[in-house]
């Protein structure tokens, strides 16, 4: 089946089997390996992508269901040398260790911040609670997101 959708702003057409998962399409056919293969069970969030701005677990999302929708992976927001300001915060706070959860956590956080630019710490914790991290204890991840939120709030107030 030929499926048309947008990936990171670009129109794409892929030939996908009816039971093909979006994770496999992105990793194997489009070579977007920032989308991580973790549990493949919908539990860990390593495979998170944004579907029309909302986080979904691509390992349990059928590619055919993405037809005519817009998909964003972490490449839509930052690349080496051109990091998203939130990624800069993660770096400054030493938020991640192995980094396996990082693309998913970052996308979940960006999705939250697009809907609510001034979340509380609790809202941030809830928004990334679908993304499991074995290394960090989430402490510096949450600190970095809150630092970003505060900086943006201060910048807005200055205007």
């Amino acid at each position: 089946m030929l499926i048309h959708f947008h990936v990171n702003g670009k129109a794409c057409a892929v030939d996908a089997a009816p039971d093909e998962k979006l994770l496999d399409t992105l990793r194997e056919k489009l070579q977007i390996t920032s989308v991580k293969r973790g549990c493949e069970n919908g539990d860990c969030g390593a495979c998170t992508v944004l579907l029309d701005g909302r986080p979904v677990a691509s390992c349990i999302f059928l590619t055919v269901k993405a037809r005519n929708h817009s998909i964003q992976t972490i490449e839509a927001f930052g690349e080496p040398g051109h990091l998203h300001p939130l990624q800069e915060k993660f770096r400054a706070h030493g938020a991640f260790q192995c980094g396996f959860c990082a693309p998913g956590v970052t996308l979940s956080a960006i999705s939250l911040l697009n809907q609510n630019p001034t979340p509380t710490e609790e809202e941030v914790r809830r928004a990334i609670s679908g993304n499991l991290c074995r290394c960090s204890g989430y402490v510096q991840i949450v600190e970095a997101i809150m630092d970003y939120v505060e900086e943006r709030r201060a910048a807005r107030e200055e205007l």
């Binding site: 069970n41 260790q97 980094g99 914790r125 809830r126 990334i128 290394c135 204890g137 989430y138 510096q140």
Partner: protein, 329 residues
Amino acid sequence: MAAMIYPHDSCGVSGATSVFLKVDSDGSAVLYSGLSDVGQGSKTALSQLAAEILGIPMDKITFIAGDTHTTPYDEGTGASRTTFFCGHCVKEACEKARTQLFEAAGRMLGVPSPEKFYIQDGVIYLKTFPECHVSVAEAAHASERIYGHPILASATFSSFSTPADPETGHALMFERHTFGTQIAEVDVDIDTGEIDVLKLAAVHSCGTVINPNLVEGQIYGGVHMGLGQALMEEMLEREDGSVVSNTFSEYHILTAADMPGVMLSGMVERPVEDGPFGAGGMSEGAPSPTAPAVGNAVADALGIRFTSLPLTPERILTALKAKQSSQRS
């Protein structure tokens, strides 16, 4: 509250670690080590050490790690030993290379006494007359191209311990330890059996801290694992040994929303003997006291001592019921 003591390296083996180093004629350095960096930041911390001793910026250091084909022997990354063992070797190798650089600088400047030099920001200066100087790159270049002595060094460090005597249980330990104490404040819901860890403070002594951000990350990550052990992580098996909890739907780990509302960390910089600049390891020490601290807090709240983990709502409720019925009878 609970306190712990953790040894660097395991008992009963001679854990050897070695490191190679070369300084190239462009003033950059390459370190080869058998350590594995899975995100804990060993390469970063040890590159900082090397930069400090060689007097060159971090971005001039390449750290090749984990490839046993190209790197020298290391017993392994485990038992909190990497910063301590590899760090010891990195320091020693860098000091040897620095002496070779001073020797080359001395020949170039006609001052044949390496101890009369110091190194800073990529430049080697004569202590008594800093106007007299050559760059690290120039010294390395002259050493390998003119004096026929490429700047190369290696270092090895081993622990010493003996297996436990089967009769007495005694062993000679490698006595280089890290210490830590954690305090947990918990709320136990006696209707549902749920435990909420409200606050957790973790203070660890892992010697001189090379990179506070990395040490904090190790503490927080370790506490997260310790809380998992305390509250929910459990490998359930069937009779035949097959695993029941083989997905994250059954094997639960803490999410960001499950972590204590208040999470504090602290470091006590008590130098570790033989550690590079007194630095020690910060790994297993972090999760070790967490479950005991939570268990002690729960015992304080309920007057019940638990001897198995995790402290699931089911275990708490069962113990509460048993306590009530024994009080009644």
